[in-house]
Amino acid sequence: MTRRSFLRTSAVLATGLAAVAASLKPLFEMEDFATAEQFMQKYYKELTPEEMAQVLKRIEAEVEKQYNIRPHVRDLRPMDGVEFVYALNLSRCIGCRKCVHACVAENNQSRNPEIQYIRVLKMPHGTFDLEKGNHTYNSASVPEKGFFYMPVQCQQCHNPPCVKVCPVNATWQEKDGITVIDYDWCIGCRYCEAACPYWARRFNFTKPSIPAERLNPEMAYLGNRPRKQGVMEKCHFCIQRTRDGRYPACLEVCPTGSRKFGNILDPESEISQILRTKRVFMQLKEDVGTNPRFFYYFDV
């Protein structure tokens, strides 16, 4: 190689590298690259109890660093002999959306942009055509005459399409019927969001932001621990509460008692009684074959 061609090659190479480096500038300004530990984080189902204990500690430390609050993160497993079912009384619901906001507060959803797991549809009397529903109603007072209200959230299907389509098994159905997401395993392809017939899934299009004073420190690994940018989340029946013997936040806050929740395997539970005695109850979009664990019923 002659000196001239060497100089020319070097000049071309240097210009090329400089141009590539310049175009990658936004990466150099990034603050929260995944750490080596986060990058190597194993799949939920493959973690040994010791590894899980370590991971929980690490997550607590990360949350504390970010919010200055020491959280309590648990890995709550499904209980034996329990299968959760939800029922919602459409004759009673007044569409006040208290459940929507209680859910956001309980589950540490991003506030900006705000992510909500529950969508309340204001439906005109006499139809179940969802396209006739109003998603953005902003009435001075509810309920309004001529309408009924239908809250929709994850239906915890027996036959969940979202689980079937996930290419990396990052979402699955647990023994107690709850479909969960491993936020550290999701690759963010959003195939589950396309597959869900209930529009129940929410994606973190950017870094979630929660004011520190609003953080709920009582957390579960598969539940309400803070999520990262680029992953999916959704309603999980408040795993951090329900697997600990408490009711979901949306149920507790409901002023009309429209929301019922419990163990369908226990014949004495309220939910079993409702499904046994109510003359009319239904699953949303029965025709898609998902067989939800979420029922809508009427006072008859």
Partner: protein, 426 residues
């Protein structure tokens, strides 16, 4: 073994070298493409840092132009078989020496597909979760895991076929039949599979009536076999003009009959779909109504789809008429079909599937500038790669870059060889 490896390395080095040698037109073309690539890379770096919020996508319309382009390009890649079948099954003489340009186009298209899927991921740093063994692959349940397998398999098959045949030609020996014929026939079936699996990705979603229809698969194939060979017709003429590679008009006209028949089938299937959707008039027509007529005052896609329909129909008429035996009109027909199918199969297939949402809300989608830059970047990268592949393969096929002339001459642009000055020879 050692000399064989050394020979192969010399081959690779010479190939790499000529990618950087050309006339001013070549440098201009490559320079512009590199610049667009860098703009795209910059836009992607911004998206990586700030998240997919820099795109126009939302929880309502959760896939956009990335997946639209991906879907279109899978078709382009699959269409290489439309040259392979005539050559290897029907022994077509005219296309024989051109089939490799189709396969190289498939390689470039698949790489673009993989890039489009990657930029669509929220967590590209976790791609390894897909790799069987160290990650978790939800196979055979998830159609996306099938897609990962068939796309990468198709890439490997075509890289092997092209690489092997070119290296044999370089060395001046006859390729061993067993080293490539079985792969060629596998690739024929495989090409159909990549587009079928990509169609099934949509078809399998029971909650999305617009996609959950058995005609999507056949329509994918028909439109792919129209747009793909149309791109090849244009590419071959560019190759002929720039390199004086021997390409007959008869070869182009063979491809014309393929585009012609595929376009007729494509339009026929479109009519089938439109009839089924609109005549029965059940509630599932909402997405099609949004696409073709607009829904409750929302009609962002209406001008697009009617443009696509018009382009496809004009192209079809041109292709059917003897007029398009003249290359001028054939080229017009090809451009119209490529653009028409890109709109119809990209935006026209992906976006309406999300509108209205399963809960009946209507939220429209418009790609952002950042999103568009990423797309342009990937297209530029694909063209850059295809140009490099051609820059390497044309001189090899012409015999100007061969083992026989190692150290004697390097192929220059436009069919003129540059004799290496004595003191530069190794």
């Amino acid at each position: 073994m050692i000399p064989a490896a050394r020979n192969y390395l010399v081959f690779l080095r010479r190939c790499a070298r000529i990618a950087f040698v050309g006339d001013w037109r070549y440098y201009l073309w490559m320079g512009v493409l590199s610049l667009i690539c860098l703009l795209g890379l910059n836009a992607y770096a911004r998206q990586f840092a700030e998240g997919l919020a820099v795109t126009g996508m939302s929880d309502e319309v959760s896939w956009g132009v990335y997946i639209a382009n991906f879907t279109f390009l899978v078709g382009v890649a699959a269409a290489a078989v439309m040259m392979v079948i005539p050559v290897y099954i029907y022994d077509n003489e005219e296309l024989h020496d051109l089939v490799i340009f189709g396969e190289l186009l498939a390689v470039a298209a698949i790489i673009m597909c993989l890039a489009f899927v990657t930029v669509d991921l929220g967590r590209p740093d976790r791609f390894w979760h897909l790799i069987p063994g160290i990650g978790q692959m939800n196979f055979p349940n998830s159609m996306l895991s099938w897609d990962v397998i068939v796309l990468n398999g198709y890439l490997l098959l075509n890289v092997h076929i092209c690489g092997y045949l070119l290296y044999c030609r370089y060395q001046g020996r006859t390729p061993g039949k067993w080293f490539y014929i079985p792969f060629v026939f596998t690739a024929i079936v495989w090409a159909v599979s990549i587009h079928t699996v990509t169609a099934f990705l949509y078809v399998g979603l029971g909650g999305r009536p617009f996609w959950n229809s058995s005609i999507v698969g056949p329509r994918f194939l028909a439109s792919a076999f129209t747009a793909g060979p149309a791109i090849i017709i244009l590419a071959l003429q560019v190759i002929r003009n720039v390199t004086h590679y021997h390409i007959t008009d008869k070869a182009l006209l063979t491809l014309r009959s393929i585009v012609q028949v595929s376009m007729l089938i494509n339009v026929f299937l479109l009519i089938n779909e439109v009839f089924k959707e609109f005549y029965s008039g059940n509630l599932h027509v909402a997405s099609s109504r949004y696409l073709f007529l607009g829904l409750h005052g929302h009609n962002a896609l209406v001008p697009w789809i009617w443009t696509a329909v018009a382009l496809n129909l004009i192209a079809m008429v041109l292709l059917v008429l003897p007029l398009s035996r003249s290359l001028k009109f054939l080229n017009v027909a090809c451009v119209l079909s490529i653009v028409g199918i890109w709109i119809e199969k990209g935006m026209g297939l992906v976006i309406p599937g999300f509108i209205p949402t399963p809960l009946g809300a209507i939220v429209e989608y418009t790609p952002t500038l950042n999103e568009a830059l990423v797309c342009f970047g990937i297209w530029a990268m694909g063209l850059l790669l295809y140009t490099i592949f051609l820059r390497m393969s044309v001189p090899i096929l012409q015999g100007r870059l061969s083992k026989a002339n190692e150290g004697i001459s390097e192929p220059g642009p436009g069919g003129v060889d540059m004799v290496i000055p004595q003191h530069h020879r190794p």
